[in-house]
């Protein structure tokens, strides 16, 4: 049954991707990309990767689509006909695809428990993590504790992306009150948005702290909180959103999360352990692990929220009415 889901969903995914090649209307391309992300999230759930599905749905179908639509508002909606023929790219693609499929025939069959990938490090994590870290969600314990250094690098990459976008685009803070912003004519949308935004923020807090016991964690929570404030900015207008969460505030929050994360590492060193060794943070090693994971997930959530919101502010404040087609 799971195999049937797998085959049908993957075929739908392939059809969606194929359709994207031939469309000239970029708005439809971005919408199809959102559908592609959602289908990937479904396939990830079917393949038992619930944390990954959560992140892909929030990030790929949420933030990516919003950013691409903001770019389309600035650059135009249709694609011109290409001036060179598509014969050579087709030859390159078919040759590479054939070589890759020949390569996949050497791979171990899908799903078997004695594949090489399940042999060396993974059984140690699956058996030892309930005793050493004590969290039900093994993905969180590997992400935050065993491979915590990689996650620090990932948080810094997210922060570097914010630095890049802000230095390329910057947030224009002109107070032009006459510029029409927000959807003030849509009364139903305003009422429903006012109802839903607190619930979204509450759900994001639940996801943040529940990431130890189920799917969730800092990344997903940061993205969902950013989505709540993006909804506020879309419905009530960007100047109003600047008064609620100012761009200066997001610029302060983004490095704060990274500093919290690195601060936990340095605290471990000051207490006598290695960098990011949570065992020394409390009297009991398992309690130390719980405390360390809680604080670093908080740092990750704060940085991801501030970065996503400041990237949205940078894109949204560029839109001038003349460019919208």
């Amino acid at each position: 049954m799971s195999l049937l889901f797998d085959i049908v969903l993957l075929s739908m995914l392939a059809l969606t991707a194929l359709r994207i090649i031939f469309l000239k209307d970029l708005f439809a391309v971005v919408m199809l990309f959102g559908i592609y992300s959602f289908l990937s999230a479904l396939i990830f759930v079917n393949l038992d990767a619930v944390d990954v599905a959560f992140t892909e749905a929030a990030v790929g179908a949420g933030i990516s689509t919003v950013l691409m639509l903001s770019t389309l508002a600035l650059t135009g909606r249709t694609e011109e006909k290409s001036s060179h023929s598509s014969f050579l790219p087709l030859i390159v693609v078919v040759t590479t695809g054939a070589a890759l499929i020949y390569g996949t025939l050497d791979m171990p069959p899908f799903g078997q428990a004695d594949n090489p990938i399940h042999q060396h490090v993974a059984p140690r994590y699956i058996e030892q993590s309930p005793q050493e870290v004590g969290l039900p969600n093994m993905v969180t314990s590997v992400l935050a504790s065993y491979r915590g250094f990689d996650t620090l690098g990932e948080t810094v990459v997210v922060f570097a992306a914010a630095v890049g976008v802000l230095s390329l685009l910057g947030v224009r803070r002109k107070e032009r009150e006459d510029q029409e912003s927000g959807l003030k004519a849509h009364r139903v949308l305003r009422v429903v948005a006012k109802l839903i935004i607190p619930l979204i923020i509450l759900f994001a807090l639940y996801v943040q702290f529940h990431g130890d016991f189920g799917p969730g964690g800092g990344f997903q929570a940061g993205v969902i909180t950013a989505a709540a404030f993006i909804l506020y900015a879309l419905v009530f207008g960007l100047p109003q959103a600047f008064k609620v969460v100012s761009p200066r505030f997001t610029e302060i929050l983004a490095p704060l999360g990274v500093l919290i994360y690195a601060g936990v590492g340095i605290t471990s060193v000051l207490k006598g352990g290695n960098f990011l060794d949570y065992n020394v943070l409390a009297a009991d090693p398992v309690a130390g692990q719980h405390l360390g994971i809680l604080v670093i997930e908080l740092g990750v959530g704060i940085t991801v929220f501030a970065v996503m919101l400041s990237i949205f502010y940078a894109f949204a404040s560029q839109t001038e009415k003349a460019n919208i087609q």
């Binding site: 797998d6 085959i7 995914l13 991707a17 971005v30 990309f33 990937s40 990830f44 393949l47 038992d48 990767a49 944390d51 990954v52 992140t55 892909e56 790929g60 990516s64 950013l67 770019t71 600035l74 650059t75 135009g76 694609e79 011109e80 006909k81 290409s82 060179h84 598509s86 790219p89 087709l90 390159v92 693609v93 695809g97 499929i101 996949t104 025939l105 791979m107 899908f110 799903g111 078997q112 428990a113 990938i117 993974a122 699956i126 309930p130 969600n137 093994m138 993905v139 992400l143 990689d150 996650t151 990932e154 997210v158 992306a161 976008v165 390329l168 685009l169 016991f213 990237i311 894109f315």
Partner: protein, 118 residues
């Protein structure tokens, strides 16, 4: 039939990878190239997660009465990869906005001859 079932995931992954690759090299508009790049990235995620799945396993969350778990290591790797992917997409899209402002167009065949604008 079991041969197809064993490798179907990987073949679809290769097909998606090649679709994304084709969009990147042959699309005229820069935003569509970024969409193709994202298709390519997501197909790579599918490859890793397919490798980590164990048949009749469950999600890697410790619960009563479950003996077989799917491998949590690829999930961790792909979580990082998804977030890094959206970060690079954001930087790429802001570069496109600046290109539009400098050259006035984001179509490849129109700004290829405009080297001397800046």
């Amino acid at each position: 039939m079991s041969f197809v079932a064993d490798y179907y995931n990987y073949w679809v992954v290769v097909f998606l990878m090649m679709t994304g690759f084709y969009v990147v090299i042959s699309a005229n508009n820069l935003v569509k190239k970024i969409v193709g790049l994202n298709i390519f990235q997501t197909s790579v995620f599918m490859l890793y997660i397919s490798m980590g799945k164990v048949t009749n396993g469950s999600a890697p969350i410790v619960a009563e009465g479950i003996e077989q778990y799917s491998n949590p290591l690829p999930h961790v790797l792909i979580l990082t990869a998804i977030v890094v992917g959206v970060a690079t997409t954001a930087v790429g899209l802001s570069l496109i906005v600046r290109i539009k402002r400098a050259y006035g167009t984001v179509e490849e065949n129109e700004f290829q001859d405009k080297d001397d604008v800046i």
